[in-house]
Amino acid sequence: MPSLPDMTTPNLTALASQALADSGHVAVPAPDAGQPEFVEFLQRLGDNCLILGHRVSEWCGHAPALEEDIALANQALDLIGQCQLWLGLAGEVEGRGRDADALAYLRDAGAFRNLLLVELPNGDFGVTLMRQFLFDAFHIELLRALKASADSRVADIAAKAEKEVAYHLERSADLVIRLGDGSDESRRRMQAALTKLWSYTGEMFVDDAVDQAMSDAGIAPLPSSLKAAWDKTVAAVLDEATLAAPAEAWQHGVRNPGGKKGVHTEHLGYILAEMQFLQRAYPGARW
């Protein structure tokens, strides 16, 4: 078998267009070319779904109960489906002939735009559930706002995804409550998960130039505008779960660049090494 090529691919565009040329795709005209912020924004949406979907899918066959195994697979399937839509649109807007697969499989870690929170390892089941809840509570607010996007393609995807994510949130919030207000051990584990993950929640609400441009164009809300609703959801659930968020915590990716800017944890490289292995080892092959 050929060995894995160097993961720091020097020229992704060349690689992608080579792959596309090999697969017989014809490059489409670029209707939205010249909107780099829009592309960047769509990649953020798609990458969150892709990486969280990947993490959740790691549980398949290993969850604590069959019913939970099945539920998690549904959630991962929803997220992978959403990722295909967002990255598909990102490729379309970019206008360089890259499709969702090219974006998912042929970018290196520095080009990924997902939040740090979603790439963190699964940990015990409590970490997985808490990570899901903290993200779902943000995701739902974002999608609700995106339903009013000035770009109808964005609004359509958001409307479809919102239904799925509303269920994700219902599930994750309920499990956080049950396990927080459950046995001594489940409470201890959920509190530990919350304390560990809290430092990765701030990044969700950071506004940057991309967000500002999206907001100015009426395409998306400023992330900071979603925080009040998130705070309210999270406070209510944690209260019922008898859990307490840390009062003071350093927030990764707020003062320093985080996942949104392509500066990731060490974990993402391993996710991609695994996820992209076949595409890297057999460039241009069709599967």
Binding site: C60, G61, A63, L66, I80, G182, S183, S186, Y282, W287
Partner: protein
């Protein structure tokens, strides 16, 4: 098939049967379904628990070799399809455990027997999945062999088992096709991909033949199970049918079945083929396959690591119950 060596109680001649047993056998012979509350011979109940339990265990252990490639699937669509398929297997395990539970055994008891090695699962899942082509080969051959066994089991005499099989067969109709689809793509791909596909067939061919269990002449428990209609065909019948169906499919792909003695026998209207190595089969069943330790270890770990989660939810349910009771009291 997913239940390979199910120990059955000894077969009885009609003269040795009690009146209940005769009436029971007559119902089965009339193709009536036996339902949970109804009288049944203890041997029927026990054999069914073993068979359905083994089948259920095979479904959930069977998640692992394919689950192994979910995070490495080569496209987003393949990833989603594979995940949906492996999820179905969890669902099928669930349906089957529930069918077994109607016989007076709990799911946790069955799992305990799996984890302690007192109940088996199909030998096929102790083989490794080494390349993406193995996802094709598993779907094509392993699901193909399983379907061959499961389709007739829809008519099995025990109602809950039959209903579970009907649901499973309906859901499984896409599994074999997605496997074959992967093989077609790879065989039409680069030389490396085609070689990978051939290699997968080479490794999975004989293990797939083993899925049907030992030859009929060595299968001591078949007669009673067939009389009870919890086994619908003999091992050799199904294996022959599988080979006859699979050979042309391999030819279409341009792949070679790894059996130099494989040839069409006009007289019997089927292929002559080499037997798998039954010594290897019994070694794998006994725990010496390439992946037995990993597979069982993964199941035990999932179960043990998940104990706090299951218990925590029970603790919450008990608290919520208690609060509701207290609230009712206060209102009165």
């Amino acid at each position: 098939m997913y239940a390979q060596l199910v120990k059955s109680e000894g077969s009885k001649s009609r003269e040795d049967m009690t009146p209940e047993e005769i009436a029971f056998q007559d119902r089965i012979d009339r193709n009536e379904k036996i339902e949970p509350k109804e009288w049944m011979p203890e041997g029927y109940r026990k054999t069914l628990i073993r068979q359905i339990g083994q089948h259920a265990h095979s479904e959930i252990v069977g998640q692992l070799p394919e689950g192994n490639w979910i995070t490495r699937a080569p496209t987003l669509e393949r990833k989603a399809i594979l995940l949906a398929k492996v999820q179905d297997e969890a669902g099928h395990g669930l349906y089957l455990y529930c069918a077994a539970e109607t016989l007076g055994v709990s799911r946790d008891e069955l799992l305990e027997k799996l984890h302690s090695g007192n109940m088996k699962y199909s030998s096929i899942f102790n083989y490794p999945t080494l390349t993406w082509a193995d996802m094709g080969a598993v779907g094509w051959l392993v699901d193909g062999a399983a379907i061959m066994n499961q389709v007739p089991l829809q008519r099995t005499s025990y109602g809950p088992y039959s209903r579970a099989m009907i649901r499973i067969c309906k859901e499984e109709s896409f599994h074999q096709r997605q496997g074959y689809d992967i093989m077609m793509k790879m065989c039409a791909g680069t030389p490396e991909q085609k070689a990978m596909a051939q290699d997968a067939l080479n490794r999975f061919w004989y293990p797939a033949l083993m899925m049907f269990g030992p030859s009929d002449k060595d299968s001591v428990h078949s007669a009673q199970s067939m009389a009870w209609k919890i086994k619908m065909n003999t091992n050799d019948e199904l294996r022959q049918k599988f080979v006859d169906q699979t050979v042309p499919q391999a030819e279409y792909l341009g792949l070679t079945i790894p059996d130099p003695d494989l040839k069409w026998n006009e007289e019997k209207g089927g292929y002559d083929f080499s037997e798998p190595d039954w010594t290897e089969f019994f070694a794998v069943i006994a725990g010496n396959g390439p992946c037995n330790a990993e597979r069982l270890g993964a199941r035990v770990k999932a179960w043990e690591d998940g104990a706090w989660f299951r218990d925590g939810l029970m603790a919450h349910a008990a608290k919520a119950d208690e609060r509701a009771r207290a609230a009712r009291h206060a209102a009165e």
